[in-house]
């Protein structure tokens, strides 16, 4: 389990991460979303000890980060950081020598899955192949904690699907996975919970199904003028265009729909919202950027 509480990181006068709290239970994939500069990579750096947090606590399976944590932690950075002058097989040899849990058979299987030639130098691999090698390095020890910063960038759609399947499999085997991606479809497919960051803060977080449920929208059409919506107008976000209203129902879609019907709506629809809708609404800053 990954438990982050009150994490704050400042670079000079820039507050990169602001009082971030997040739990990723074992067996769960948490998608970390946010625009560029939202603080996702800095969060990863703080988690890994690459950057010193100003305040807050980070615990892996209840314990703070120590060198021994890395025996059960796998990390894939945003940009593959490989020894370009070393061969693929040298990278795996390095993992074998330093990670007690290295599974050579599994690494070989992954090499075949990603169609990587062990004799090739890392510097001669394509970006997608480098990402694949970084994934193999991270996954070949069956880590119980996985931190993945854009793990599928540069991979073709087939390989992206393979990566997501591997992550889902790892989570089903009990791994706690924190996955950052700009490709919302990937998060939608692999994650069971999400955290959306804006300006260093987590502005939305929770289980994906619950978020979807709570973000359903009721669309009602009235024959004439829209009647007084009562407490709905004051407690929920309401958009009105002519005789149509869209009410963001905050998890009460069914009761809001019934209320609209009672107010004389001639048509009422309950709309499910995609993760993309949820994301866009969460990061909407009124066009300030």
């Amino acid at each position: 389990m990954i438990a982050i509480s009150g994490l704050t990181k400042r670079y000079r006068d820039v507050l990169a991460v602001d009082d971030l709290s997040l739990d990723v239970p074992s067996g769960s994939v948490c998608g970390l979303l946010g625009r560029n500069g939202a603080g996702k990579t800095t969060t990863f750096k703080c988690l890994l000890g690459f950057a010193q947090a100003e305040s807050g606590s980070i615990r892996f399976d209840g314990a703070p980060l120590t060198p021994q944590t890395f025996a059960k932690l796998g990390y894939v950075p945003e940009r593959p950081a490989l020894y370009t002058w070393l061969r693929v097989s040298d990278h795996l040899e390095l993992v074998r020598r330093t990670q007690p849990a290295y599974d050579a058979a599994y690494a070989k299987e992954l090499l075949a899955t990603f169609r990587l030639d062990g004799r090739k130098k890392a510097g001669r691999l394509s970006k997608g192949q480098q990402t694949a090698l970084a994934l193999i390095v991270a996954l070949s020890t069956h880590p119980s904690i996985l931190l993945l910063d854009e793990p599928a960038s540069g991979l073709d759609p087939v390989m992206q699907r393979v990566v997501l399947d591997l992550l889902i499999e790892a989570a089903s085997n009990g791994a706690a996975i924190l996955l950052s991606s700009h490709q919302i479809g990937q998060i939608d497919r692999a994650a069971d919970r999400v955290a959306i960051m804006r300006d260093g803060k987590v502005v939305v977080s929770g289980e994906l199904d619950a978020l979807r449920e709570s973000s359903r929208v009721v669309e009602a059409t009235f024959a004439g003028a829209v009647p007084d919506l009562g407490e709905m107008a004051s407690t929920m976000k309401v958009e009105q265009i002519g005789t149509n209203v869209r009410i963001h129902a905050n998890g009460r879609a069914d009761s809001v729909a019934a209320r609209c019907g009672a107010l004389g709506a001639v048509g009422v629809r309950v709309l499910d919202r995609s993760l993309e809708d949820i994301f866009l609404e969460a990061v909407d800053d009124g066009g300030n950027r």
Binding site: A71, Y75, Y83, W85, L86, E93, T98
Partner: protein, 248 residues
């Protein structure tokens, strides 16, 4: 983690040895058929060879001194091993020091081979403390390495620039010491030369191994050897501390 540094060192030593012996081969070929001779009383002091061959150690020291800063690009691998950063750094340093020793010995072997090819082996002479000079030559190369390592360890890159700059700095500090400058500047240059690996090799009599005067380091052979190694150790500690506590 030393595995990566072993591979790096192997590559450095391979190219270094090829180049050194390539040069020796050229020298040997150019003198083929000529039999060298010196005057009856003349000898070739082994001590001078040991001190001069420190140059080879400096070359290798310069190259491997970028080892820690080179790891900045691969921190996601280097710092995610279940080993403390300090231990990683010390394992790199251990491999690098062994590489410097190998580079130093390769240079000595190459020069001795060249002397043998020219036919001057019979003129080689070793004094009582000659072998101790190996420690001084090696120590000064390790001092070069450790100082450059410390200077670059906090950086996120540009290790090669720092290593290249080290030659300029050490050569300039050493060469301007004798210039006619005001006393305070002369004192400053003298102090700086105690951090100049090249200065440790000058001003020693090949015969007596005592300080000969007219040189910034006024120590005889044993104390200056100890001082070079002590400063190298301090610089290495500083490098490890800076590298292991930096932010990536």
């Amino acid at each position: 983690m030393y595995y990566v540094e072993l591979l790096r060192a192997r590559r450095v030593l391979m190219w270094y040895t090829i180049i050194v012996f390539g040069i020796i081969a050229i020298v040997a070929l150019s003198t083929m058929g000529q039999h060298g001779s010196l005057g009856a009383a003349d000898t070739i002091p082994l001590s001078d060879i040991f001190l001069g061959c420190a140059f080879g150690g400096y070359v290798v020291a310069t190259i491997v001194s970028t080892s820690l800063v080179s790891e900045s690009a691969t921190v996601p691998i280097t710092w995610t091993r279940p080993v403390s950063r300090e231990r990683i750094a010390w394992s790199f340093i251990a491999v690098d020091v062994a590489t410097i020793l190998a580079g130093y010995l390769v240079m000595i072997a190459a020069v001795l081979l060249c002397i043998a090819v020219i036919g001057l082996s019979g003129y080689l002479r070793a004094g009582a403390a000659t072998w101790e000079l190996l420690l001084l030559g090696f120590g000064s190369a390790v001092l070069w390495y450790a100082l450059t390592l410390a200077a670059s360890s906090r950086l996120g890159g540009h290790g090669v620039r720092v290593a290249t700059l080290s030659w300029l700095v050490f050569l300039v500090i050493g060469s301007v010491w004798g210039a006619p400058v005001p006393a305070p500047i002369h004192a400053l240059l003298t102090a700086l030369n105690y951090l100049n690996p090249i200065a440790y090799l000058g001003g020693i009599s090949g015969a007596t191994h005592t300080h000969t005067g007219g040189h910034p380091i006024v120590l005889s052979q044993t104390p200056r050897t100890l001082l070079a190694w002590a400063l190298a150790a301090v610089a290495a500690f500083v490098a490890v501390r800076l590298w292991s506590t930096k932010e990536a």
